[in-house]
């Protein structure tokens, strides 16, 4: 009898002192974060070296060191240097930034909504941005000529950005009564906004010319093809303002998983956290869509993978999502531009092909357990 009890305790982890197990958990979190860092570095170097002009990983490192003034004995051609610095590197850096911002936004939104199926697309931020771009593409030279003239070459990014922010404000207003945001109302409002925006985009597609249709497709499926140092400069301040402070709300997001009133009883200013997270996500997603179009599924899949690896603690999941999201998007972009050379597949197709089946896998795994919704 005694033996069975101690065996039972062993199985439940009783024999191991709790503090040791706790340090094992911390140890695993650190290992996962370090591994994700390494993965990002490797994928970045491989992606930067792959394409019509081959650059070996060694040469990539050599060129980069050379750029910052450290001369090595690694030999490379001038042509390789130009391709890397002007074409490849901006694209990879853009992939890192957008991937990290999508994944971090997804994590924060899922935490806020206490719903592992939420993502920025769900509450209409992305589709609002896409509708604004579609309108400018199709009607920019006629009905909205004044807007086109005013915004000039950056008219599409700026209108996407404005569209995303406006949609977020609208949804926020719809679901906030007396300073209290109803999360369920917000999800439902998001569904309605998505439908309306979908109708609007459909209307634009219906009246678009062939060439405009191409532009709309590009925008709704996403691409890193417009990456340039100028675009990165445009994007960076928005991402920095909105994403860098998010880790500071990690503990608040953890308590929010218990429920809003529980978080409030633990001394969290719940409404402040909600407003902060929603505005951050709107800013970063709006800015992201403005430059790359809509890229789906990164924000949904990455937080899930992280939680499978390290559990739901946002203090680990938020930085981990940034690293994994960046790796995934750079990897997906590598596939998108090499799989059908010389043509380039829209990256949205690649991420959807990864994300869709994964989503189904989650549903099947949790079917009947009623865990996801």
């Amino acid at each position: 009898m005694r033996a069975t009890i101690s065996q039972e305790r062993n199985r439940l982890g009783w024999a191991i002192p709790t503090s040791l197990k706790q340090s094992l958990y911390l140890y695993r979190s650190v290992v996962v974060l370090v591994a994700l860092c390494l993965m990002l570095v490797i994928i970045t170097i491989v992606a930067a070296g792959t394409g019509a002009v081959e650059i070996s990983p060694r040469q990539v490192i050599g060129i980069l060191l050379d750029e910052v003034g450290i001369h090595t004995d690694i030999s490379f051609e001038e042509r390789q240097r130009v391709v890397l610095m002007i074409i490849r590197l901006p694209r990879v850096v853009m992939g890192v930034l957008i991937g990290a911002s999508l994944a971090v936004s997804g994590t924060a939104i899922q935490g806020l909504f206490r719903n592992p199926l939420a993502d920025p697309g769900l509450i209409g931020i992305s589709s609002g941005a896409a509708l604004a771009t579609a309108i400018i593409i199709v009607l920019g030279s006629t009905t909205f000529k004044s807007v086109t003239d005013l915004l000039g070459a950056q008219r599409l990014p700026i209108s996407a950005f404005v569209g995303g922010i406006l949609t977020t404000l609208l949804i926020y207003r719809l679901s906030t009564v007396g300073g209290h945001t109803h999360v369920a109302t917000m999800l439902l409002a998001g569904i309605a906004i998505n439908a309306i925006a979908g109708a609007g985009i459909g209307m634009m597609i219906f009246i678009a010319t062939d060439e405009q249709l191409r532009d709309i497709t590009f925008w709704s499926l996403g691409s890193l093809g417009r990456a340039s140092w100028d675009n990165i400069k445009l994007l960076l301040p928005f991402l920095a303002i909105s994403l860098l402070p998010l880790p500071f709300s990690a503990r608040a997001l953890n308590t929010l998983l218990l429920g809003e009133s529980e978080a409030s009883h633990l001394g969290i200013h719940v409404e402040r956290v909600k407003a902060f997270v929603i505005i951050s996500v709107a800013l970063s997603v709006g800015a992201g869509v403005a430059v790359t179009g809509i890229i789906g599924f990164i924000g949904l899949v990455v937080p899930h993978l992280l939680r499978l690896m390290v559990g739901p603690d946002h203090r680990v999941v938020l930085p981990g999502s940034a690293l994994l999201g960046a790796s995934l998007l750079v990897g997906a972009d590598l596939v998108a531009r090499t799989v059908a050379v010389p043509a380039e597949v829209p990256i949205g197709i690649v991420t959807a092909l990864i994300g869709g089946p994964f989503f189904l896998y989650l549903l099947i795994r949790d079917r009947g357990r009623n865990k996801l919704l």
Partner: protein, 281 residues
């Protein structure tokens, strides 16, 4: 030192949910709130915690109006156990209890926080669940983990703060053994100076553990006082519409409420008969 509610009124349209409810929860006492379903018990708790603003009336904690308490300072003194928990993310039980230390933590959890968490889990007999994933636990285990969380929140024997514990039906989902062990813990906290308010359904649990019982009926305070004064057949008949006999507990100094169930009308007999037949077929 106390939580004081004065003439609280809450209404939805013309329907009054709470009407002129006043109560006082002193430190060091266990106050049980009982009443039939829909009497306004949960609404009263929401008003006491500040989640719901009453249409009339005031709440003060230690003679300072509730609205003037900084959130964090309040959370260090007062913990609230919710009726049901909605956590659907895979925290381990230990992490859930650790969340209770949130108002005390600056930066990262200290060794002291972990010690408190382990103590709270030992007290609620959940230490063997520490590394299980919360969502895989049974309803009763979850309830005890949540209790450990709120205990950890106001643990600090080392501080001079007043402490309050508000429990919304803490015995939900629990077997009779754990019902009693949870109220024993609540009693223990009250004996050590915490003001404990518990919404309860079982009148005998209230009788055995509470210093005072407040009976809420149709949004009004029917009566408040020691178990012996409050729990009379007359009052229980009036508020719960149930015939009972009340005796002295055979071995404890408190009343014992025994419901009298006998089928005494033709309609009731017919009703029961019909139900049995449906159950068989």
């Amino acid at each position: 030192m106390s939580i004081k509610a004065t003439q609280i009124t809450v209404h939805v349209g013309n329907a009054y949910i709470l009407q002129d409810v006043s109560l006082c929860l002193n430190t060091g006492e266990l106050l049980a709130v009982v009443g039939p379903n829909g009497a306004g018990k949960s609404t009263l708790l929401k008003v006491l915690t500040g989640e719901l603003h009453p249409h009339k009336g005031t709440i003060s904690i230690d003679d300072k109006p509730l609205a003037r308490w900084p959130k964090k300072a309040l959370a260090q003194r007062r913990a609230v156990l919710p009726q049901n928990s909605t956590l659907s993310f895979g925290f381990t039980a230990l992490q859930v209890v650790l969340l209770g230390r949130t108002p005390h933590i600056r930066g990262i959890e200290s060794r002291h926080d972990y010690e408190i968490v382990h103590e709270a889990m030992r007290l609620t007999a959940t230490d063997h669940l520490a590394h299980r994933v919360y969502t895989t636990l049974s309803g009763g285990e979850r309830q005890r983990i949540q209790l450990a969380r709120v205990l950890a929140q106001i643990w600090g024997q080392d501080s001079n703060n007043t402490r309050y514990l508000l429990l919304d039906e803490p015995t939900n989902n629990l077997d009779i053994h754990h019902q009693h062990s949870i109220l024993r813990i609540a009693r223990h906290f009250a004996n050590n100076g915490t003001g404990v308010l518990a919404i309860l359904h079982d009148l005998n649990l209230a009788a055995q553990y509470a210093d005072r019982i407040l009976v809420l009926d149709k949004g009004m305070v029917a009566t408040v006082g020691t178990p012996k004064v409050v729990l009379t057949p007359h009052l229980i008949q009036n508020t719960f519409k149930l015939t009972v006999v009340v005796q002295d507990h055979p071995c404890m100094d408190c009343p014992l409420v025994i419901p009298v169930t006998h089928v005494n009308s033709v309609q009731e007999k017919d009703f029961l008969k019909q139900h049995f037949q449906e159950a068989i077929s």
